[in-house]
Each structure stands twice: as structure tokens, then as C-alpha cells.
């Protein structure tokens, strides 16, 4: 391994590209969601700011920047300011282990299109997603507001419960690929995507992912009607924008992880001849999964909190365990 400048510069460039890509993706995901949600509700979404509404995210960003930054006087100031940061940073770094494409040649140098290829990549993802729960419960606490506290507690309990089912749903692809490294899991799907072997696993993954990201129908913690926006009720301006960003980036992240684990990641026709098609295929799959997330939001009513928890513990986790057992038994029997 040569320790030349490129050795240090390459991960730096990849990180910058990843973070910028996620931020841009977040901005246009908000527009995508608003337009698709509108079409599902027989109306047109925002189409006035720029052609087709393309400058709408910029208008929203400018608006949020200009808003008054209010910190409640009795709030714990340090924690209040830190909480959005604790929520958003894990969302940005969780995609560090995902392979975005096969190895490409840039300027005569063979570059693997992944920030890092950990041999325990799946474990890394699971642990990083757990950190953002701290940010939410701290936001609820630091706001010095009963309803924000309740929202924060509810949200963290929900996320912790559904993380179990989420992690267990990932054991299926791990067993099938015989590795926790995401690169190897993608390579193992060359013949057939894991969604065919793990139909129940995909369903569990998707439901648990929706609950993990606090998305409808599991968005009780940020219910405007029940909890007056829950844990981020006291936040305004840029700090609120960070929470907003964290939620949408986590959405993108779980869709990328789902595409990688179940739908073949960057694999697709002719990807070996033209390696740059890899990220493009991944993008298509992620957009399809995001569409399904928005579609579910447009269709289903919010689930009441106690039913949400009962479902997570009494239905989804046993089902995920069963999925693991069945997958393991079938693999041992068939070989």
C-alpha cells in the first residue's frame, strides 16, 4: 500500500462528495416528496419557484436561514444547540460503508466507489443509526417542554424497538452472502437479488425502516395534531432545518441500505463494461424505494402509539426472528 498524497486525499474527496451528495439529495427529496404526495392527492405540488418548482428547496433554505433563532429561556442551552447536531451527523456518516459502484479508473488510478469497505459494514450501520436516538431524546429534554419531552421519549422508545426488527431483517442477507461486508453482499447478488430469497425479510425491513426514520404511518413523535410537533416544537430556523435534514437524510440512507442489501445495490445490466452505470442503477433503485415511502405516507393513517409499540414487539420482532431461523435452516439443508 503506497502512502502517497492520493492515499490521504482520496477518502477526503469521497467524504466531501458523499456529504454534498446527501445534502443535495435531501434538498431535492423534499421537492420530490411534495410533488409526488401532491400527485397522489390529485393536485399539483409546488411548481412556481423556478421551472417546475426546481428552486423550491433553495427558497425553503433561505426562508429557514432568515428565521429568528429562538432558544427558550429555561432550556438547557448547550444541549439544546447540540441535539440537532447529534441527530444529523450520524445520518450523514452512516453511508460511509456502502459501495456506490464497482471499481472505476479515475486519472489512471483504480478507485473503489465506496468510502470504506469494513468487513463488519452492517454492524457499523446498525450502531451508527442508534446514535441519532440520543439527539432526539436530548432535544426533547433540553426544550424544557412537557410535550417535547413526551415526543422525545416516544420517539426514542419507538426507534429502539424497531431497530431490533431492522437488524434482524438484515441477518437474512448476511447469511445468504456469508459476510457482513456490504461489498461482498452486493457481489453475492450477481445471480439473483436477495429480494427473491427474502420476501418476508424485505417487508420487515421496510416497515422497520419506516419506524426507524419516524415516517408515516409511524410518525407519532412528530405528530402535529397530537403532540404539537413533538420533540422539535421549540426549535426554529436553522436548528429546525437540521432536524428536518436529519430525517430526510436518514430516509435516503435506509433506502440506499435497502437497495444494497436486497435489491442488488449497484448491479444491473452492463455494469461491468461501463462501471459508471453502477451509481446510476443504485440511484434508480433508491428513487423507487423513496417513492414507495412517499406512497405509504400518502395512504396510511398514523398508528396510535401503543399499537405501534405492540406491533413492533409482538408482531415484527418474532416475525424477524422466525425469518432468521427459517433462512438459516434452509441454508443448512440446501447448502
Amino acid at each position: 500500500m503506497s502512502f502517497d498524497t492520493a492515499f490521504f486525499v482520496e477518502p477526503l474527496i469521497k467524504s466531501v462528495v458523499l456529504v454534498l451528495g446527501l445534502t443535495l439529495g435531501f434538498a431535492y427529496l423534499t421537492l420530490f416528496e411534495r410533488r409526488v404526495l401532491a400527485r397522489l392527492q390529485v393536485r399539483i405540488g409546488p411548481n412556481r419557484a423556478g421551472p417546475g418548482g426546481i428552486l423550491q428547496p433553495i427558497a425553503d433554505a433561505v426562508k429557514l436561514i432568515f428565521k429568528e433563532e429562538l432558544i427558550p429561556s429555561a432550556a438547557d442551552k448547550l444541549v439544546f444547540v447540540l441535539a440537532p447536531i447529534i441527530t444529523v451527523v450520524p445520518a450523514l456518516i452512516v453511508l460511509g460503508v456502502v459501495p456506490f459502484g464497482p471499481t472505476v479508473i479515475i486519472f489512471g488510478r483504480s478507485v473503489r466507489l465506496a468510502l470504506a469497505d469494513l468487513n463488519v459494514g452492517v454492524l457499523y450501520i446498525l450502531s451508527i443509526t442508534s446514535i441519532s436516538i440520543y439527539g432526539i431524546v436530548l432535544a426533547g429534554w433540553a426544550s424544557n417542554n412537557k410535550y417535547a419531552m413526551l415526543g422525545g421519549i416516544r420517539s426514542s422508545a419507538q426507534m429502539v424497538s424497531y431497530e431490533l426488527a431492522l437488524g434482524l431483517s438484515w441477518v437474512g442477507p448476511i447469511l445468504l452472502a456469508n459476510s457482513m461486508s456490504l461489498e461482498k453482499i452486493v457481489e453475492a447478488q450477481r445471480s439473483l437479488w436477495f429480494v427473491v430469497w427474502q420476501p418476508v425479510g424485505v417487508l420487515i425491513f421496510f416497515i422497520a425502516a419506516l419506524a426507524e426514520v419516524n415516517r408515516a404511518p409511524f410518525d407519532m413523535p412528530e405528530a402535529e395534531q397530537e403532540l404539537t410537533a413533538g420533540y422539535h416544537v421549540e426549535y426554529s430556523g436553522m436548528k429546525f432545518a437540521l432536524f428536518f435534514m436529519a430525517e430526510y437524510i436518514k430516509m435516503i440512507a435506509v433506502c440506499v441500505i435497502g437497495a444494497t442489501l436486497f435489491f442488488g445495490g449497484y448491479l444491473g445490466p452492463l455494469v461491468d463494461r461501463w462501471p459508471w452505470l453502477g451509481p446510476f442503477y443504485l440511484l434508480l433503485k433508491v428513487v423507487a424505494l423513496l417513492f414507495v415511502m412517499v406512497w405509504v405516507r400518502a395512504t396510511l393513517p398514523r398508528i396510535r402509539y401503543d399499537r405501534l409499540m405492540a406491533f413492533g414487539w409482538k408482531v415484527l420482532m418474532p416475525l424477524a426472528l422466525l425469518n432468521v431461523v427459517v433462512t438459516a435452516v434452509v441454508l443448512v439443508v440446501i447448502g
Binding site: 400527485r39 390529485v42 393536485r43 399539483i44 406512497w295 405509504v296 400518502a298 395512504t299 396510511l300
Partner: protein, 167 residues
């Protein structure tokens, strides 16, 4: 089961994507107003060009928002604005006060003040929000003379004409 309900719901929502959106793309497309829509006022004229308004100020009395200001003056046969003795020398409606209720239209004995279909009203300062006589009067109909008119004596003694019952 619940799963079937969810799947049917998802199918319904997806089907909505293929329907034409119900949004009216204002300002490129404007929906026509309904009959009896209450928009900006017009002061009407008769077919011969004389104004219908006789300056009685019943509309100002009826207005719940005190938006109308009327000053009456005498008609003579040499300088005639409306049939009868009086006409409205000053007629102002303050559109920052007007609530578009239509009580003035109901109160008017000659059907002079009528709420029409103009709803795109915006002003940049208070002075321009007060519309006067000249801005509210309708143009002279074809075949009519502009006011003030010079008429034959005693041809328009009646202020309030015989009117048909409303439909």
C-alpha cells in the same frame, strides 16, 4: 385482513396519480366566477347614458363597514347627471373597509350600485384603495350620451323608474 385493506388503499392512492389534478393553475388559468358573485362595485347607467345613482346615500347607510361616502348635489335640466332631482357629486368606496357583503346593492332603490366580478384588487397605499366616482362608473353604453347631459325640460322628472321584479 388488515393487509388486504392496506394493499387496496395503496392501489387507490396510486390510481390517483393517473387522474388529472384538480388544481386550477392560477394565474395562467382563471376559474370563471359564479352568478351573483360579489366582487368590485360598478355604478351603472341607463341606456341613454344618464347615471342611475341619485345620491340618496341609502347604500352608505346600509354599509356595515362604513366604507361608502356619498355627497349629493342638485341636477338641473342644463347640467343633468341622473334622472330626478339629485345625483352623487362625490361617491367613494374604501376597499380597505369594504367586506363585499352586498347590503349596498340590496339597499339601492335604482339598482345603481351593483357588485360585479372583479376580485383581483390589490393596492400599494391607502389613498389608491379609495375608488371614486370616475373609477366606479361604467362606460357610456352605445347609443347613449356621456354625462353631464343637456336635456329637454321636464323629460326626466322621476328619480326612481318603474322596474321589473327580480327573477
Amino acid at each position: 385482513m388488515a393487509v388486504r385493506g392496506i394493499v387496496e388503499g395503496l392501489a387507490t392512492t396510486l390510481g390517483m396519480m393517473f387522474e388529472r389534478p384538480v388544481t386550477i393553475a392560477y394565474p395562467e388559468v382563471k376559474r370563471p366566477v359564479r352568478p351573483r358573485f360579489r366582487g368590485r362595485h360598478d355604478l351603472k347607467r341607463y341606456d341613454n347614458g344618464l347615471e342611475k345613482c341619485i345620491g340618496c346615500a341609502l347604500c352608505a347607510a346600509a354599509c356595515p363597514a362604513d366604507a361608502i361616502f356619498v355627497e349629493a348635489a342638485e341636477n338641473t335640466d342644463i347640467v343633468r347627471f341622473s334622472p330626478g332631482e339629485r345625483y352623487a357629486r362625490t361617491y367613494e368606496i374604501n376597499y380597505l373597509r369594504c367586506i363585499f357583503c352586498g347590503y349596498c346593492e340590496d339597499a339601492c332603490p335604482t339598482e345603481a350600485i351593483v357588485l360585479e366580478s372583479q376580485y383581483e384588487l390589490s393596492y400599494t397605499d391607502r389613498r389608491t384603495a379609495i375608488l371614486g366616482r370616475e373609477q366606479l362608473l361604467v362606460p357610456v353604453p352605445p347609443g347613449g350620451q356621456p354625462t353631464p347631459q343637456r336635456v329637454a325640460p321636464h323629460s326626466f322628472d322621476r328619480a326612481i323608474p318603474d322596474m321589473k321584479d327580480p327573477e
